[in-house]
């Protein structure tokens, strides 16, 4: 019996060993790529919907220059972020990569010496590379003199696309109520909505259950009503949220509620649902980002719509929308192929490649020269790039608690729980409390 047992055990252990050995041999076999003498660079990215377009561009680049570009996709973005952080700690970052997260994360990578300073390259030949790109696309990757992160001033990344958030209108639904052109002023918007309401068509739909979208909409009108300086002074604590002009901003939401301008359930709606409603012709207006072009194309390719700036309330200040760089790539300082990586990014942001990317992915190109060759709706989005701003480039930031009170308060106005004046007082109270905390600290 002892002998039989030992035989069985031996058989088991041996089979286990064989399995592991075979797996080991398969994984450690000679790597064909290592034997080749082809120059190559590695790019890590997280954009699964652009994988095919990137692979096609890599093919074209290799054909043109003989340099092989290996795009490696790691999605979703959370996993990608973990991978990049782990690779940074082991000095195994690829030649080109992207940094996701806030600007302070970006700054820590730069300060740790992982990101190549592109300033010189970008300004070469009288700024020929820089001049092709939207200034807003560069801004997000730039650290200015005296930045709070104490990063050496310079440009440390290149955006391959840009994005902004605007209003969309359904041409067919507007024509059904006799409106040929989208409203340009708030009053016109109210009037159009009256006609839509009479015909039983829903007005504005947006994912305001995701509060940042409410924040974005309100911020647009705050800039339009009181101007950038006053908005930033409010954040600095120099102007009160109880100021009449802030009440005017909040009152727009009261008016939308009273006039029935909003689609039902908008307060708790996630953006995906809002996109479905607009794509299926069930709402005349939407408030959404430029990425929606790709989303609507997938949901309803026949949707007849256009993009427009949110109709302005006041003529005193321009309508300013949120927007800026989309996805950015950085070059690894420790890469052996820094110049090859820079050259590839230059090529990728050149007009033909940007037009190709835009057509394939329905995103806004970061190259200004490629606008004439891209689809109409994208061109409408892109034409408003000069009107864009973003909290990341304001240089001051509002306390998260104030933002939460602000956004949730607007939701309360929409469902009739609060008045604009009440909300203004409440936000100011929270602001004062937060300012007092800062002073104590």
């Amino acid at each position: 019996m002892e002998q039989r047992n030992s035989r069985f055990c031996l058989f088991f252990m041996l089979s286990l060993f064989i399995i592991f050995l075979s797996v080991f041999l398969v994984s450690c076999g000679p790597n064909a790529q290592n034997k080749e003498q082809v120059k190559s660079i590695k790019v890590w990215h997280w954009m699964s919907d652009r994988e095919n377009a990137f692979l096609e561009l890599a093919k074209r680049y290799e054909k043109e220059t003989g340099v092989r570009v290996n795009f490696e996709l790691y999605a979703p973005s959370d996993t990608y972020t973990q991978k990049v952080r782990a690779a940074a700690q082991t000095n195994t970052l690829p030649d080109i990569f992207g940094i996701l997260g806030e600007k302070r994360d970006f700054a820590s990578f730069v300060k740790s010496g992982y990101v190549y300073d592109l300033t010189e390259e970008i300004n070469k030949d009288q700024g020929s590379w820089k001049n092709k790109l939207f200034a807003k696309a560069l801004g997000v990757n730039e650290f200015e003199q005296g930045n709070s992160f104490e990063v050496k001033p310079g440009i440390y990344g290149i955006s391959i696309d840009v994005t902004n958030i605007q209003m969309l209108y359904n041409k067919d639904l507007l024509q059904a109520v006799g409106v040929d052109n989208p409203p340009k002023t708030w009053r016109e918007l109210v009037e159009v909505n009256k006609k839509l309401k009479a015909k039983g068509i829903q007005g504005l739909v947006s994912g305001w259950g995701e509060t940042w979208m409410i924040d974005c909409f309100a911020s647009n009108y705050a800039f339009n009503i009181m101007g950038k300086d006053k908005v930033l002074d409010t954040i600095r604590g120099k102007v009160s949220y109880a100021d009449p002009e802030w009440v005017e901003v909040f009152d727009l939401f009261r008016e939308m509620r009273d006039e029935g301008m909003l689609a039902s359930g908008v307060v708790t709606m996630v953006n995906k649902t809002a996109e479905q409603l607009f794509a299926n012709n069930r709402a005349a207006f939407a408030f959404n980002g430029s990425w929606c072009v790709n989303v609507y194309k997938g949901m309803n390719p026949d949707l007849n719509y256009g993009a427009m700036l949110p109709p302005k309330v006041s003529d005193r200040y321009p309508m300013t929308i949120w927007g800026g760089a989309g996805s950015s790539f950085m070059v690894n300082t420790k890469s052996k192929e820094t110049q090859l990586a820079v050259d590839f990014l230059k090529w990728m942001t050149d007009t033909p490649q940007q037009v190709f990317l835009s057509k394939e992915t329905q995103g806004l190109p970061s190259n200004k020269d490629s606008l004439r060759d891209i689809p109409m709706v994208l061109s409408q989005f892109a034409s408003a790039m000069d009107n864009t701003t973003h909290p990341n480039v304001w240089g001051v930031s509002e306390s998260p608690l104030v933002i939460e009170t602000f956004d949730k308060g607007i939701q309360s106005i929409i469902i009739g729980e609060k008045t604009p004046e009440q909300l203004a007082r409440e936000v100011q109270k929270v602001k004062e409390r937060e300012m007092a905390k800062k002073t104590v600290n």
């Binding site: 019996m1 088991f12 919907d49 994988e51 999605a75 979703p76 082991t90 299926n280 997938g298």
Partner: protein, 282 residues
């Protein structure tokens, strides 16, 4: 007579309530699966407009598209290899370790066991960076063996805990009898402990198969070569930052779910049988 009638009505009512509850739970479990299969037969447009579970014009081609576009061929083979080797490794190592913890006396036994239990509390993402550093230093990054070893490590704590509890309940007299018959320690593990632990092993196989089959995050961390990635990588292709190809994603998910349902159906018999065996062992 009246008592009998009352008893029958009571039993009927009780059974009805239990059955209604079970039907509701079953619908709750099956509906997502049905929805997944139904959605895999729709187009990207009809998925948002056609609310029926099964569409009038089913798009069977979605399965072919999902298979080719997602590159499922190589991923499928990879996942099979990872699942089989990891589960096999876990069963062997965990059963040996659990047997040792249950039957052998050695210094630091309890501390070692509690350390293993503590390892169960660490969530996988928490160990990402150290794992990546370790794998890089051992030159096991981007290798199958590196991933397999990590996955075995992930599944060990729970499996050892489960098997040790099982072995603890095993009567010592059985072991003594085997020893009198001339069985060695390894022989007792192989001839006595393992056959008796079949129900626990069935649970370990199902639990770990599911875990390895659905794993993706660790694979993303360890592999950089697409050809080494598991099946879940194929599904990621259909999920963009802003847009998701739902019909292909659902078709892909249906494909990936089938083998694991099969494993469950095979092992299910052992688990049910194991419940009664467990009582005898206890």
């Amino acid at each position: 007579m009246k008592e009998g009638m009352k008893y029958k009505i009571e039993r009927f009512l009780k059974d009805s309530v239990i059955h209604i509850l079970l039907i509701i739970v079953s619908i709750g479990c099956l509906f997502p699966l049905l929805w997944m299969v139904g959605s895999s037969l729709k187009t990207q447009q009809t998925i948002f407009s056609d609310m029926s579970i099964f569409p009038k014009n089913p798009m069977w081609g979605n399965f072919y598209l999902a298979w080719t576009k997602g590159g499922f061929g190589i991923y499928f083979l990879n996942s099979m290899l990872y699942t089989v080797t990891v589960v096999f490794g876990i069963v062997i190592i965990a059963s040996l370790a659990a047997f040792a913890f249950s039957r052998l006396k050695f210094p630091g036994k309890n501390i070692l066991f509690y350390m293993l239990l503590a390892a169960m509390m660490i969530p996988l993402p928490g160990s990402f960076v150290p794992l990546y550093v370790l794998m890089t230093r051992l030159h096991l990054i981007n290798t199958r063996i590196g991933y397999i070893l990590c996955m075995i490590n992930v599944g060990l704590s729970f499996s050892i805990y489960l098997l040790k509890t099982f072995f603890d309940k095993m009567p010592v007299e059985l072991e003594d009898a085997a020893r009198i018959d001339g069985c060695s320690r390894l022989g007792i593990w192989w001839n006595m402990a393992l056959p008796l632990a079949k129900p626990a092993i069935a649970v370990i196989v199902i639990f770990n198969s599911l875990n390895v089959w659905n794993e993706y995050i660790l694979a993303t961390l360890i592999f950089s070569s697409k050809n080494l990635m598991p099946l879940q990588r194929g599904l990621m292709i259909f999920q963009g930052i802003h847009i998701t190809e739902y019909s292909l994603l659902m078709a892909g998910m249906t494909i990936t779910t089938l083998p694991i349902i099969l494993v469950y159906l095979i092992m299910q018999k052992h688990i049910i049988k194991g419940i009664t065996t467990g009582v005898i062992v206890g």
